[in-house]
Symmetry: C2
Subunit: 139 residues, 2 copies
């Protein structure tokens, strides 16, 4: 809202035109102290709370994908009917609470480096992601 020049620069420097929709989405995703997880549906709700100018669903999808491609967002692999995204793009892992259907970050420093003692010929490792599924103690 206030200081958008940062986002404008960020967008422009990665070859994305700083349109008002993209800037608004930047504000919603990156103007927070803490990183967070969201689905497209979550983001649409946040947008409609934050502004009166609605952004079309297609643009939300386009923007999220563009941001993911540029490395501003990560997609988190969970079996789910919808995709989860993370504004925390640093290397880290996740708890997935199967009762609350809630994702919780695990700091990289809280996971001992994962050693994989096998390789696939002709392939290089792109990422190593740990998903810790948890549930209520009494279940």
């Amino acid at each position: 809202m206030l200081n958008n020049s940062h986002y404008i620069d960020k967008l422009r420097s990665s070859g994305l035109r700083p349109t008002k929709q993209r800037i608004k989405i930047c504000e919603i995703l990156f103007n927070t102290e803490k990183t967070f997880h969201f689905t497209i549906n979550d983001l649409v709700k946040k947008i409609s709370k934050a502004t009166n100018d609605k952004i079309s669903l297609a643009t939300v999808y386009n923007t999220v994908h563009a941001f993911k491609k540029k490395g501003y967002l990560k997609e988190i692999p969970i079996n789910s009917d919808q995709s989860y995204f993370d504004t925390n793009t640093s290397h880290h892992h996740h708890f997935y609470d199967e009762n609350q259907k809630d994702l919780i970050d695990i700091d990289d420093s809280d996971v001992e480096p994962v050693k994989i003692n096998t390789r696939i010929p002709g392939k290089k490792i792109k990422s190593v992601e740990v998903l810790v599924k948890v549930e209520d103690i009494n279940s």
Copy 2:
């Protein structure tokens, strides 16, 4: 095909009626030396190859979910447009080849035990799954 009594017992003992559809799906999923990964679509194709009596799509979904619930199948967390299942229900991990969209088992013995040095109060760990995304070396 031949010795179905094993599957009949297995189904019955877990409270699932041994219908011919379920027995057929058991044969396809569990009559193999090696475990494998599949999508619902893969399974439907295997069924239509294996038999002339077609099994309706709804039944395939129902059966896979029932088998998953009983622990005969695992669902593998990958971001994908469709769900992947695994007939290997032992503890192990996966490579996901992003170019070929192919899943490859990583033996549990090929991954050093993953130590998580943090916990969520009131929650217990249900599983720890490692997904190693790989891609072609020249990409």
